[in-house]
Every structure is written in C-alpha cells, then in structure tokens.
C-alpha cells in the first residue's frame, strides 16, 4: 500500500501553528556569551575607520583598539606609555626621535610596522586623499614639517614650532595611529571599513546599520585583551539600550542620566556616574543689543542661579563648573569666582544699563532634557528681574548650525556644550575672534585673548603656560558673556563581571583594557 503524507488544509494549519508555537517558546537570556564576548551598544553608526577621516567617538573607540601608536594612553588617565615605540625622545623643541619595537606586524599579511609607515601615517593628515578629501584633524599635525626615516625602525618627527601638547593629544591620540602604507594604498576607500592595524584587535566584520565585530589580533603580543571578541551593536534608541542591558543582551552601554537612577540596584547591573570633561555654559551674543552692553550681561549672570539650573538639568548628578577648563586638566583656574544669585545687584545693573524693562530675549537650546530643564529654570529666574525669556529649542542638526553666518548674528542667549580636550590651548581656540560666525557664538572678540592663546600653544614651560591659560579664563570672565554651568556627567551601565576602561572624559572607551572579572 503506498504511504502518503496528508497535505490537507487542516494539516498545513496545524504545521503553521506548531511552527508559531516553536518560535514563541521562551528562549531565556539571548545574550548568553559563548566564550568571552563583550557586547557593547554603540549609539552611532561607524562612519569611517580611516583615522584621518573618522567622525566621532564610535569610530575613535574602534580605532584605538585596532591600531598602535608610538605612545598610548593608560586606562583611565591621560598619562601615556610606550606602545609601538621602544623609545621616544624630544631631542629639541622642534625634533622628536623615535625607535619602533622590531617585529610588530600588521594584520592581514601587510608586513612589519616600519618607520616609513609612521611617516606615511603622520604626513597623511596634511594631504588630501585620492578623492580630494582633507582630514578634519589636519590641525593636530599643523606643526609637522616632515617625518625623517633613518632606518626600518627609527625616525625623527620634525616640527616647525614647539608643540607642548603633541605627546598627550596627538601622538597618544587617534591622530598618532600607525597605518600600513601598503594596506591603505592597496585597499583604497575599502580601508575605511577594513582597517589594517597592529593593535590588540582587528575588525572581523562591519555590518552597516547593525554591528561591528572585533576579534583579538593573535599577532599582538604586548598583552592579551580579556575578551576574545567585542561585538558592537548599533542601537540608536537609548531606551532600547537600557532594556537590552536589563535583559542581558548587551554588557555595556552609556545611559541617559535619568535612566541610570532606575537601573541602580538592579541585580547584575552596575551603574557608574562619572563627571564628564565637557564644558556647558549659558552664552550671550556680545554683538547683539542689548547684550552688547556689559552691564546687561553682568545683570543676567547675577540673576541666574547656576546650582538650581544644574540641579534641574542633572538631578544633582553633575558638578558645578566655574570656568572653562575643568578640574584635573592643565590650566584649571581654581580661584575662579563662584557667582551666587543676587537679584538686587541684577536689578541695579539693569537700571544702570539704561535698558527699558521688561527685556525680551530668546534662549536657543538643544532639545535634550537637561538643556530644556536648565532653560526653564533660567526663564523663571530671569523673569524675576524683568527679563522675559523665550525658549527656542532645536534638534541637533539645526542647533549646531545656530552660530553660523547670519543666524549667528541673530543669536541672543544660548546654552552650549563643547567636548574638552586635554590640551587647554585647544579648548580655548573656539573662543578666538576668527571663530566668530563659526563656533565662537558669543562673538567674543578679544585680540588679547588671541595673542595669549597663540603663545600658550607654543610654550613648553609648564608653569608659565598654566599662567597663560588662567589669564585666558580671566578674560572670558571679564567679558561676562559666559555663565559656566557644568562639566556634564556620564552614566554608564554594565553587567556584573565587566570592568570597563575609558579615558577620563568617560566618552572614549578602551575596549582592549576592558576586564572580565
């Protein structure tokens, strides 16, 4: 008798129901790790892993894991130690000699790391690529004349002017990575997603809008990273990232500060809040009436209560900032005035300024909760002294263009945030007169500031350089165009068993130093 398989509608429906049931069955924690895999959320897509053309911290975090530099930052500090180099000596203010460790190998068969690769990598920042693109980080190597190659492993970096921050900011940073000349030339544009380095990890896969997979580089012998694989998952929505951390699908993520409170005490999750090193301030356009009047600016500063503003913005998690350079960075002005709210003084200044009250001013902000809350408090505080504030909140794309060109001239009040750099002269450059219409939204036009900033950028004497940086901050304070608010705060969430590693700003992660504990 022939054996037939029934293929009725009933059978098909039953099969579909069975399949459905199978897929709905509980699967438990999907993030169970096979071996040592670190799963990290990235909030932004990878744009380019070609160091001169990288665009943000997602790119730079991967670049730090994939490439070696002559010097590398130690975990959690801006101090540096030798990395690909066995010696780096500042012979004169204009010459730095280096000697590479022999036997360092690029991945994918691109041979040994040589002084010629160092020359190629550093000089690349000053040259356009094959498509005519210039590096956005060319200024890092502005003082570079050339790299002279002595032999396979030795060379000299020749500078046109002294660069006191070159070691910690450039050589130990992402502008100091060593690329394989052969690989860059052979791979072309593809190198942006298939970088060839000699560092602790290599990029195994980049899946656009999805993930990046890093695997340990067996050729890297300086130390062995704890995690065999780092899987970086692209999760744009912070709420989804928080839930994925709770469910164990990711091991590490940055959190919104308000979400961090909700995760505190959740079993198996550690939440760390770290003061950031960004600077956030309420700025005033010094070229727009009535803010072109010093007394009006001083009155606004006197009417504001910085502590109340940051309490509303960061729920007590962020420290107060009184000057541009944050504590623990070179040039911090420890004696900067700590302005307290003084409404009587504010009214007196406004009366003396000869402006008619009520004044109406527009406060432009980024549409993030912290800024919205701080703006609302500022609005209420200023109302009490006769200044009516209209809040203009803008999404990121629009907001970051607010200071440009003509729209910059129309700005009045704004709350702004910049990322800080270990180099104080670098941080001050955004307030130079030539940045008016670009990033100097206050339109703070001080030739003296420009002169001191230029001198500090070439001053190799640490003590007198600190004095110069403090002098810059005093000039900013005298202008009364910036009310410093906070350094921001970073909240990071991670699974028990992970000890993350990052630079002091909390925003730059060092995957190769993450520990499995």
């Amino acid at each position: 008798m022939p054996h037939t398989t029934p293929c009725s509608r009933r059978a098909i429906l039953a099969g579909l129901a069975g399949l459905g049931a199978a897929t709905v069955l509980p699967v438990g924690r999907a993030g169970a790790q096979a071996g040592r895999t670190l799963t990290v959320r990235i909030a932004r897509e990878v744009q380019s892993l070609d160091p001169p053309f990288m665009t943000g911290t997602t790119d730079s975090n991967i670049i730090r894991a994939v490439f070696q530099r002559l010097l590398a930052q130690k975990p959690g500090t801006y101090d540096y130690e030798l990395d690909a180099a066995e010696a780096v000596d500042q012979v004169t203010p204009l010459q730095i000699d280096f000697k590479l460790r022999p036997g360092l190998m690029f991945t994918d068969g691109y041979g040994e790391v040589t002084a010629a690769d160092v020359k190629f990598s550093f000089e690349r920042f000053a040259r356009p690529n094959a498509e005519g693109k210039m590096s956005s980080y060319a200024a890092d190597w502005a003082a570079l004349v050339e790299v002279q190659v002595k032999d396979t492993h030795s060379g000299s970096i020749i500078l046109s002017k002294p660069s006191p921050s070159l070691f910690e900011v450039v050589l130990a940073g992402t502008s100091g990575v060593i690329q394989s000349q052969k690989a860059v030339e052979a791979l072309g544009v593809e190198h942006a997603f298939r970088p060839v380095g000699s560092g602790p990890y290599r990029v195994a896969a980049v899946e656009p809008h999805r993930s990046v997979t890093l695997v340990r580089n067996p050729g890297f012998t300086a130390y062995t990273p704890d995690f065999e694989t780092c899987q970086l998952l692209y999760i744009a929505n912070p709420k989804t990232a928080e839930l994925a951390l709770r469910s164990g699908e990711i091991d590490f993520t940055e959190l919104a500060v308000d979400a961090a409170a909700g995760l505190d005490g959740v079993d198996g999750i550690t939440v760390t809040k770290r003061p950031g090193q960004r600077f956030i301030w309420l700025g005033m356009n010094m070229q727009k009436a009535p803010l072109d009047n010093l007394a009006v600016r001083q009155a606004i500063r006197a009417a504001l209560d910085v502590d109340q503003m940051i309490l509303a913005g960061y729920q007590g998690n962020a420290p107060r900032l009184n000057t541009m350079i944050p504590p623990h960075l070179l040039g911090h002005w420890a004696d900067a005035p700590v302005y307290q709210r003084d409404t009587a003084r504010a009214r007196e200044l406004l009366a003396g300024a000869g402006v008619s009250l009520p004044l109406t001013l527009k406060l432009t902000i980024l549409n993030e909760p912290a800024f919205q809350n701080m703006a609302l408090v500022a609005q209420a505080l200023l109302q009490e002294v006769g200044v009516t504030v209209e809040i203009d909140q803008r999404e990121a794309g629009t907001f970051w263009s607010s200071g440009k060109g003509e729209s910059g001239q129309a700005l009045e009040l704004f709350i702004l945030r910049f990322n800080a750099n270990p180099d104080p002269s670098y941080n001050a450059r955004w307030f130079l007169p030539q940045q008016i219409g670009d990033w100097n939204w206050q339109r703070f036009d001080s030739p003296e500031f420009a002169r001191i900033q230029a001198e500090s950028g070439m001053n190799s004497d640490r003590a007198s350089r600190v004095e110069q940086i403090i002098e810059l901050q005093k000039l900013m304070d005298a202008s009364a165009s910036m009310v410093w608010l906070t350094n921001d705060v970073f909240a990071l969430g991670y699974r028990a068993g992970i000890a993350p590693a990052f630079l002091p700003d909390g925003n730059n992660w060092q995957f190769s130093h993450f520990k499995a504990v």
Binding site: V27, G132, K239, S247, W400
Partner: protein, 318 residues
C-alpha cells in the same frame, strides 16, 4: 465607459507623474531643512574649504532645478547616489536594508489579517454581545496607541518582566531561528494597530453583507452558519478591506521605520533616522525615493487588482 487596458495605462501614467512629483518634493524639502550638513557631519574641525567641497559633493550648492534634474537622471539610470561620508553606493545601502523592512511589514500585515479578519467576522455575527463590545474596545485602543508606544510596552512585558523574548530585533548570530524569534515582538507591535483597524472594517462590511438577500437565501437552503459566514459573506465583505490594506501599506512602512528604531532592527527606518540626524542628504533622498516608489507601486497594484476582483466595477469591451 473606459476599457481595462486604458484604465491600466491611465493609472501607470498617474503613478509615473506621482514619482516625479515626489522627487520634486524631496528636493524642495531637503533644501528647506534647517541645519548645515557640513557642520553636523564633519564636526567643528573641518576647514571652511573642505566644508565647501563637501557641500558641493552633495550637490547642495546647486539651484533646485539643477538638483532635480541630476536626481531624476540618476534615478532613471537606477543610481540612487553615493554616501559622501562612507563612499558607499546608496543602492548597496538600501538593498541591504530593504529585505529586513519588507520582512517586517509583510509579517505584520499577515498577522494583522490572520487575527483581524476572524475577529471582525466573529464580532459581526455576535453583534451586541459582550465579546463584540470587548473586541471593539480593544480595537480602538490598538488603533489609537502609536506602534512605538506599543513596542515599548511589549518590550517591558515580554522581555523584562516575563523574560520570554529578546529585546533586540537584530540577531547577532546567523541563526534563522534566532532571527525569527527576534521578529516576533516587532511584528506584533506593528500589527496590533492593523488588527484593530481590520477587525472594525471587516465587522462593518460583514454586517452589511449579512443583510443581503443572497445570504438569506443561503440560510434558507440550510447551509451551515460557518459556511455562510466564511465562504459567502466574507468573500464580498473583505473586498473593501483589501483596498484599505493596499492603500495603508505606506502607513505600515512608516510604522516599520519607528519600530525598527525601537527594536534596533536593521532596515530602511534606521537608515532614514541616521541620515536625517546627520543631515546625510545623499542617503536621505535616495532612501526616501525608494520608499515613495514602493508606496506608489503598492497603491497602483491595489487599484489594478481591486478593479479585477470587485465584480461591481465594469469595463467596456471595446
């Protein structure tokens, strides 16, 4: 009276015109979006010369009519443009994402039909019962609450409280089973609104159909109620719903965009979100164009098939 071939040609020409109209709207809207793409994409360190070069590379320094012409010429040759940041072809980016969005949209629509149609029929034949009222209430809730809110609720309930399903819609492994499991919550979140809508539409149509003479006749012949409902009544009652489903496919794609972001799924949604955030206009316009073409194509197919399926629509035999 118009013949069917003439009707088809007429609809196709309208669709082509709609595509051109959409291109014009894309170009105009992009020129109206505030914010400087060079500032957003290149950051503060870019030199003014490079920023200018970058803007020129995107074609944003050209007048609207030149940009429209270039766009139309590129699209006519099947070129959606090049991502000026990564150097990748937008065709490649969209082609990689499209299957994920389609899978989600079709799965959601299939689920919505599988649940919504029987629920509508059940409601209609038990008009006024407690079950009918309950379905009506639940349907209204599903229709009114946006899919991304439903998505978050589903995540909290099924992934965090019950720990049954994963949060992330993207599968870190290549396993098909894992990918299927990760599709469940996004599919349900996207389908719920449609389940409510389809249930209400089918109920209304069914009530109208059940009052028809041919249904009374079928009952008079002693046919089983199930047969009357599903074979005779539903066949006609479902036609208006099919039209709504077709027309609503675009809305479904819009919902899929948000759901992809909530569930961190790869797809057109995440591409559009990133491109808009970063003012990456070359990717944005290519992707929006693809979405518009899909929307117009689905509407066209719906109109053409509706004309075929609905016996009340007549064409001349000239």
């Amino acid at each position: 009276m118009q013949s069917y071939p003439a009707y088809v040609i007429n609809r196709i020409l309208t669709a082509v015109l709609s595509v051109f109209g959409a291109m014009l709207v894309i170009v105009i809207l992009i020129s109206l979006v505030p914010g400087d793409p060079a500032t957003v994409l290149l950051g503060p360190l870019a030199t003014p010369e490079y920023a200018q070069h970058f803007i020129a590379e995107m074609g944003l320094d050209q007048p609207v009519h030149v940009r429209l012409w270039r766009l139309a010429a590129g699209f006519a040759q099947g070129r959606l443009g090049t991502d000026v940041i990564s150097g990748q072809s937008v065709n490649t980016i969209v082609a990689a994402a499209l299957p994920h969005t389609f899978a989600l949209a079709f799965a959601a629509m299939a689920l919505a039909c599988l649940v919504g149609i029987p629920a509508g029929v059940w409601s209609a034949v038990r008009k006024g019962s407690a079950g009918d009222t309950a379905i009506a209430m639940v349907s209204v809730v599903f229709v009114s609450v946006p899919s991304f809110i439903l998505g978050i609720v589903l995540l909290v309930v099924f992934s965090i409280w019950l720990d049954w399903l994963p949060v992330l819609g993207l599968s870190p492994s290549a396993s098909l089973r894992d990918a299927a499991i990760r599709m469940i919550l996004p599919t349900v979140a996207l389908a719920l609104g449609w389940i409510g809508l389809i249930a209400r539409l089918v109920r209304t149509s069914m009530l109208e159909t059940l009052g028809q003479n041919y249904i009374r006749t079928a009952r008079a012949y002693g046919l089983r109620e199930g047969l009357v409902h599903y074979r005779y009544a539903l066949k006609n009652a479902v036609i208006p719903t099919l039209a709504i489903i077709g027309m609503g496919f675009g809305r479904l794609l819009g919902g899929a965009v948000l759901i992809e972001i909530i569930f961190a799924r790869q797809g057109l949604g995440s591409i559009l979100y990133d491109a808009l955030q970063a003012r990456n206009f070359s990717v944005l316009q290519g992707t929006v164009f693809v979405v518009v073409v899909i929307f117009i194509a689905v509407n066209l197919l719906t109109e053409l098939s509706y004309a075929l399926f609905d016996p009340r629509i007549k064409f001349s035999r000239r």
